[in-house]
Amino acid sequence: MVTERAKFFGAGMICASLVAAVVFAFDPSRVSLFPPPCPLHQYTGLWCPGCGTTRAMHQLLHGNVAAAFRYNPLAISLLPVIGFLFIRREESVVKPVWIWTLLGVVVAFGVLRNIPVYPFTLLAP
């Protein structure tokens, strides 16, 4: 039986592969056409927690883990988490406190990377 989850998983894998192929091919730090800029950053000048993810993924796909980490340490750190959640598909393995912690980390990261003082500038892409 093809469950809802299996379909979701399949669709996720296909989308991820397509995106990965495009991100592999183009270097977002050189090509200005692709990908589209973060609208939040364009209008407010603020770095959101996701800014730098595409550049980070491009570096990661080319094997440069350190460079990827510099662009967006949060996104790189969350990749194994996403992988784990995809594999362990029972929702009950996730305790509420983990999700609240994740929320805290994401928000804190979003705030800290906007502080224009060293060492927080390291977090900005």
Partner: protein, 158 residues
């Protein structure tokens, strides 16, 4: 001290005999719940431990409470949409993804508290917000590409 296996199949403890007696009295642990005494390797049903089963609920049995000790009731499957929430947060550059994470956390918290209706409501909210993040991300991307192809010039980056 004892270890106990919850309704979710996981081990909990070590906890004191008094704690297990209390769970048993509350109906969260059942006579058939597996318990392991410290220093032993055998798992035995709670009813075989006289010191634990002493507080058997007489008469009215309270309704089973929330997991992990809710007996045979399966945990209802209310999706948290945590994965799409995370993905939309780090890929779509939209604050909506964060809202979706808030609701995902709410789903989980309410499920654990036994509030199924509340969890389902939060679950629907989580779904709405992660889709909002995806769609706004897509629309702004499409808008951007149209703009750029018209002007054909270099602008900001993601």
């Amino acid at each position: 001290m004892f270890k106990i296996i919850g309704a979710d199949g996981k081990q909990y403890g070590p906890v004191s005999a008094e704690q297990i007696r209390q769970w048993f009295a509350e109906g969260r642990a059942k006579p058939e719940t597996l318990v392991q005494a410290e220093g032993s390797t055998d798992w035995k049903p709670l009813s075989q431990f006289p010191e634990l089963a002493a507080a058997a609920p007489a008469g009215i049995v309270p309704p089973p409470l929330s997991p992990p000790f809710s007996g045979n009731q399966p945990r209802p499957d209310v999706p948290t949409y945590l994965v799409p929430a995370i993905i939309s947060t780090i890929f779509c550059c939209m604050p909506f993804g964060i809202v979706a994470i808030v609701f995902a956390a709410q789903v989980s918290t309410r499920l654990n508290a036994g509030d199924i209706a509340g969890a389902q409501k939060a679950s629907r909210n989580a779904r709405t917000w992660f889709w909002a993040a995806f769609f706004v991300g897509l629309i702004s991307a499409a808008f951007w590409l149209t703009l750029v192809s018209h002007r054909g010039m270099r602008l900001h980056r993601w």
